[in-house]
């Protein structure tokens, strides 16, 4: 299909642009991959409704296959796609957290009666993804690899081994960097 190939060419170009250090390229790519990820996720949800777990690794794998098979998108490697997908996952989740946060915040905190103020705080017991995202940006400026590890491990839920494969480094390094990144991020977020 000519249109499909046109589109996939576009995607492929964007992927290259991204890997060459142009992060804005990813924004253009986002809707395409997003759509595919969602479609995959839906299938997973249906298939796994008994325990309602979602395995992002499998999800990304399938999305990858689909993009290649049906849309003819070229990636440098499967691991390359994983890196992108992990970054996308991060964006999706942080976006979601932002929406949720906005719904809750409302901007009239002085008006909140006591019980509501308590409610808002109590709801935040989970990890604050927005703060994490900001901290991760700062970490990325000091140490790109660590930031990438966090994306892969935390946002894309890869194992140590898979993370090591994608980044082409040793598992020991991943393990070490992961521990340091965790400590640093945790401190940043609890400051």
């Amino acid at each position: 299909m000519p249109e499909a190939s046109e589109k996939s060419k576009e995607i492929t170009e964007m992927l290259h642009a991204w890997s060459e250090g142009k992060p804005e390229a990813l924004d253009l790519l986002l809707p395409f991959v997003y759509e595919e990820l969602h479609r995959q996720a839906r299938r997973y949800l249906r298939r796994e409704q008994e325990n309602h777990t979602l395995q992002p690794t499998a999800l990304i794998n399938e999305a990858y296959l689909k993009l290649i098979e049906q849309k003819g998108v070229r990636f440098e490697s499967r691991t390359h796609f994983f890196a992108i997908a992990a970054n996308l996952m991060r964006q999706i989740l942080v976006d979601h957290a932002r929406t949720k946060h906005r719904l809750k915040r409302g901007g009239v905190n002085s008006d909140l009666p006591l019980e509501e103020a308590l409610l808002v705080t109590a709801d935040e017991k989970n990890i604050d993804l927005i703060a994490l995202d900001e901290a991760l940006n700062r970490l990325g400026k000091m140490d790109v690899q660590q930031a990438r590890i966090v994306e892969l491990k935390y946002f894309a839920d890869l194992t140590l081994q898979e993370t090591a494969d994608v980044l082409d480094i040793s598992t020991a390094t991943v393990k070490r960097d992961w521990q340091t990144a965790k400590a640093w991020l945790y401190r940043e977020m609890t400051k």
């Binding site: 008994e50 901007g107 109590a122 993804l129 640093w184």
Partner: protein
């Protein structure tokens, strides 16, 4: 931090993190040297590392699922599906997607579940689905989610249910636990629903917190009745029809083993006792904050369920009453034969427990802090007092713990506000039966004569003794109605005493021998059927009157009652000295109590004859008054304007002769209520009657009626309850208590009470009529129509015809409603049909002008029905009409109370008269009533209608915050609408918040804000135009 610096920190951190604390110290001393900054950095990372052990260890994707679901729904907002318009997707369940939609035919919000294709593919699944949905929709209970429709459209099978806003119990619990009182409020409603289901032979099978929704007002709804079974079945047949039995069981277990009964988990046959077990698990979790058998894995949970007893609840919460632990233990018995066998018994135990706790709470409230309980409450047993002071301590702990708990879900807050209100009112009313008061029932004397016509005499003596004894304030005496239920009854005394819940019985017989009457009387101890006292009176017919007084005297003496001087006097009083008049009066009473029109006409004859013999016979005058009053009240063929003046003249005459005659005060008080619309005089009269005859059920009942119709609902319910306690088997008293609850907007209790009435007498039309009205308000049209049809068939009264027509009109069946209207009109040719009924029917048909015309006619006729104008919610749409308000004013139903209690404030507000609202707002501000949804909505309502007159932004602000908390979108628009005019800065802020919250880009809100930001005050006309652009009028 620079990258190089970071690499240095990281390197050091990586190196020391594996070392022991001592080694770390020396390592850092060595490597950092004088670089204090570097050392501090590494140390702080080490510290964080300790704390961050579990940080980010579970993937971020845990939050992913709902994002994905939300973005990929099948049906988009605004799309039509069958006759529904999709509003948005609200969830994805095992069977398919769930959407919020608007029913375009009936203009109400509904939830639609669209079955997924996999499920619908199998014909057997579909059949089962249909069958189960049918069974579930037959469950007719307010605590069970109503199924409106099942059907097929666009190749999709769907099920439509009522839409309930609120949180699931799961969301509310969320790892927290609830207070005992909150738990009971919720579980009692669940139990109510399950009782109804089990009676219909439907087992839920999947009771768990996810299937229980708590509305913001505390009302509980159970979801997925019958459907639960299907979800379970899906494990059998979905992926592969040939899956064997073992795998099936495994499939089921995977889901919700936490709430399963042992027999369910083992795949054995299940029945309603499984629901009882699951219910117990939920109850347990609400108190303990965890399920009783929870293990780290499914298999561990399974093992716990089969092998181990749960820990007692008192391990988790310090103020768990022993009774609750016992109840829970009995629901969680592994052997189903040793469990509670029926939900009904379990429900009764929960209710008892709640009553005890309410009692304790009352006690607690009545204690000034630090004072000795014993000194204040001599009536209470020592055991209770101990328990109370313990409760007090726990209460303080509770408060402390609550503070540390941070937040409780809003719904829970509301529930506790609700319960607080309940306790508040219970402790404020003094009419409940005081403990330790003696109680007695006078059973109908047996007519031992050969002549059946002498029955009026045996009945009459009985009633006279009842009436005499009823004047004693220290004694509870069953009313005539309830006592007469045991006429010709073969039951033994012990069981009668227990059915009537009295300690003592009086039995007797009367026999005519020649011109003498022989009366035997016995006072019986109901506990053991032993005789306390007995006596024989032999009297001439002329001395019969004296005989009843003697009997009453002797009973009082033998029960060792202390009588005040005036009670002593009244007990010995003769209402007539003339034996013939007395006998004629007794005949009048005999006919009156048949309570049908011709018999009541006869009773008037006899009373008049009695008066002819003794012109000063006050009781006979009171009897005439009762009889006339009954005509317009029963909807018989006599206009109010004819009947009440006659009734009033008779009552006045009676009081002229005997100012202390309770019966006459009741008569006058009820006329002043129904006809004169003089509420304060009516109240005085009825209170006087209660003072004179504290055991007179009728006095309490009319008083309750007056309180209810004037909007004093809590007092009304308390009085209605007292009336029923004194006359537990009276149909009218029972049914009216339901009506009072209905007007108090306590629908669940109202339905319970009315159904209880129908248990006593299934063919009591007034109860069917009352039940229909509750259903009608809940928009359960089919059920309402069924009840009114039944009431119409059973009664000779016109009232149900009008109600039936109104329901037909409201449910959109205008043609049938028109036919009913025609029926009423043809009836009106020969009978008196109240104009009020026509007004209501025209109102139902949307003909405002005609409705108001008839209301004015009704006023001109002074129809009794107008006393319902204030509380009848059917009129709500008309309340803003100036003509309606004028009628309200003329009936006197919008007087501003001098002071107003918080709870009544909210209710008063709902009645929508302007004066009431102003009074309410004043009370709200002065007394700082805790906010509740109903209150906000009430205030919003007022803002909407009255904005230009007296805007009151608190309601909007309150509702706005409420929306935030519940994350549900309520109709918020009036706030800005009003605020723009009066408080523009607040309005602007709120509007922009709303837009960001709900993303209504092109809504009227954006326009309003835009216009506002342009610096212009919107004119009222512009605002009106903006309103027009909203979805519906209602959204403002």
């Amino acid at each position: 931090m620079k990258s190089e610096r970071w690499q240095k920190v990281k390197g050091l951190f990586d190196a020391v993190v594996e070392l022991s604390p001592d080694e770390r110290k020396s390592f850092l001393n060595q490597s950092c040297g004088n670089d204090v900054e570097l050392r501090r950095e590494v140390e702080s990372l080490l510290e964080s590392s300790e704390e961050a052990k579990s940080f980010m260890e579970s993937p971020a994707v845990a939050e992913m699922a709902d994002v994905i679901e939300g973005k990929s729904k099948k049906l988009e907002a605004g799309k039509s599906f069958a006759h529904y318009e999709i509003i948005n997707q609200i969830g994805v369940g095992g069977m398919g997607e769930i959407y919020l939609a608007n029913d375009k035919k009936l203009e109400r919000k509904v939830a639609i579940k669209i079955l997924n294709e996999k499920f619908a593919k199998h014909q057997s699944n579909l059949e089962r689905f249909t069958k189960e949905a049918k069974a579930a929709s037959a469950l007719n209970h307010p605590n069970i989610l109503v199924i409106h429709e099942i059907g097929e459209s666009e190749n999709a099978h769907f099920i439509v249910t009522e839409f309930v806003e609120g949180e699931t119990l799961r969301q509310i619990l969320n790892g927290k636990n609830l207070k005992v009182s909150e738990t009971l409020d919720i579980t009692i409603q669940i139990a109510n629903a399950l009782v109804a289901a089990h009676i219909a032979k439907i087992v839920h099978r999947d009771i768990k917190p996810e299937n229980i929704i708590i509305r913001p007002d505390g009302f509980v709804k159970i979801l997925d009745f019958g459907i639960a079974k299907l979800v379970e079945q899906k494990a059998i047949g979905f992926e592969d029809e040939t899956v064997n039995q073992n795998e099936t069981a495994k499939g089921i277990i995977l889901g919700t083993v936490n709430y399963m009964s042992p027999e369910q988990a083992k795949g054995e046959k299940i029945d309603e006792r499984t629901d009882i077990f699951s219910f117990g698990v939920v109850l347990y979790e609400m108190i303990a904050g965890r399920t009783p058998f929870a293990g780290d894995s499914t298999s561990e949970t399974f093992a716990n369920l089969i092998n181990f007893e749960p820990q007692p609840l008192s391990r988790f919460s310090s103020n768990v009453p022993d009774e609750l632990d016992q109840i829970v233990a009995k629901t969680l018995h592994k052997n189903k034969d040793k469990r509670y066998q029926t939900m009904k018994v379990l429900l009764a135990d929960l209710k008892d427990l709640r009553e005890n706790l309410v009692f304790d709470e009352k006690l607690e409230r009545s204690l000034p802090s630090g004072e000795n309980a014993t000194a204040k409450l001599p009536m209470v047993t020592v055991g209770k007092i101990n328990q109370t002071s313990e409760t007090n301590n726990n209460f303080i702990q509770r408060i402390k713990r609550d503070k540390s708990l941070a937040a409780v879900g809003l719904a829970i807050l509301l529930i506790s506000v609700f319960s607080f209100g309940y306790y508040f009112w219970s402790s404020g009313n003094s009419t409940s039966i005081p403990r330790g008061k003696k109680s007695l029932a006078v059973l109908p004397f047996i007519n031992a004569s050969q002549d059946p016509n002498a029955e009026y005499l045996s009945d009459g003596i009985t009633e006279s003794v009842i009436n005499n004894l009823s004047q004693i304030s220290n004694l509870t005496v069953m009313s005539r109605n309830s006592a007469f239920r045991f006429k010709n009854n073969q039951a033994d005394n012990k069981s009668i005493a227990s059915q009537l819940d009295v300690e003592n019985l009086i039995t007797g017989d009367i026999k005519q021998v020649g011109d003498k009457f022989i009366i035997n009387v016995r006072l019986i101890n109901g506990n053991d059927d032993s005789q306390i006292w007995g006596s024989q009176y032999i009297k001439n017919s002329g001395d019969l009157i004296a005989a009843q007084n003697e009997i009453a005297q002797s009973v009082a003496t033998n029960l060792r009652l202390k009588l005040s001087d005036s009670e002593q006097q009244r007990l010995g009083k003769n209402y007539t000295a003339n034996p013939e008049a007395y006998q004629l009066y007794l005949k009048g009473r005999y006919h009156y109590f048949k309570l049908i029109e011709p018999e009541i006409r006869k009773s008037i004859d006899f009373y008049e004859q009695a008066i002819a013999v003794d012109p000063n016979y006050a009781l006979a005058f009171a009897g005439i008054s009762d009889a006339y009053r009954t005509f317009p009240l029963a909807g018989w063929n006599m206009a109010s304007k004819t009947a009440f003046p006659l009734a009033k003249a008779a009552a006045k005459k009676a009081l002229e002769i005997d100012p202390d005659l309770a019966e006459a005060h009741i008569a006058l008080g009820s006329i002043e209520f129904f006809f004169d619309w003089d509420w304060s005089e009516s109240e005085n009269e009825l209170k006087k009657a209660i003072e004179l005859a504290p055991n007179n059920s009728e006095a309490h009942r009319f008083y309750a009626h007056m309180l209810s119709n004037t909007g004093r609902h809590d007092e009304a319910v308390a009085e209605g309850k007292r009336a029923r306690e004194l006359d537990p088997f009276s149909l009218i008293t029972n049914a009216l208590e339901g009506q009072f609850l209905f007007y108090a907007r306590r629908d669940t209790e109202a339905i319970d009470q009315i159904k209880k009435t129908l248990e006593i007498e299934p063919n009591f039309w007034i109860a069917h009529n009352a039940l229909g009205r509750v259903y009608l308000r809940q928009e359960r049209f089919e059920e309402a129509i069924a009840e009114f049809t039944k009431a119409k068939e059973l009664s000779g009264s016109i009232a149900p015809i009008m109600q039936l027509g109104f329901s037909l009109a409201k449910s959109g069946r205008h043609e049938q409603a028109q036919a009913t209207l025609a029926e009423l009109k043809s009836l009106a040719i020969q009978n008196y049909v109240p104009a009020y009924y026509f007004a209501m029917l025209y109102h139902g048909l949307g003909e405002r002008e005609e409705s108001l015309n008839y209301l004015e006619k009704s006023f001109a006729e002074r129809e009794v029905q107008l006393t319902f104008l204030k509380v009848d919610t059917h009129w709500d749409d008309l309340r803003r009409e100036p003509r309606f308000q004028e009628i309200m004013r003329r009936v006197g139903l919008d007087k501003i109370p001098d002071s107003i209690a918080p709870n009544d404030g909210v209710k008063l507000y709902w009645q929508m008269s302007e004066a009431g609202q102003i009074a309410f707002i004043r009370a709200y501000e002065v007394r700082k009533i805790p906010p509740a949804l109903g209150l906000y909505q009430a205030m919003i309502q007022s803002e909407y209608h009255d904005c230009p007159i007296h805007p009151h932004p608190s309601g909007s602000v309150g509702l706005f915050q409420f929306s935030r908390k519940t994350k549900a979108k309520y109709d918020l628009t009036p706030k800005g609408y009003c605020n723009i005019e009066k408080q523009s800065d607040v309005a602007a802020r709120h509007m922009s918040d709303l837009i960001s919250d709900f993303g209504e880009e092109k809504s009227s809100w954006t326009l309003a804000l835009h216009s506002f930001n342009q610096g212009g005050d919107l004119t009222r006309e512009q605002l009106r135009q903006l309103r027009g652009r909203g979805n519906t009028e209602r959204s403002f």
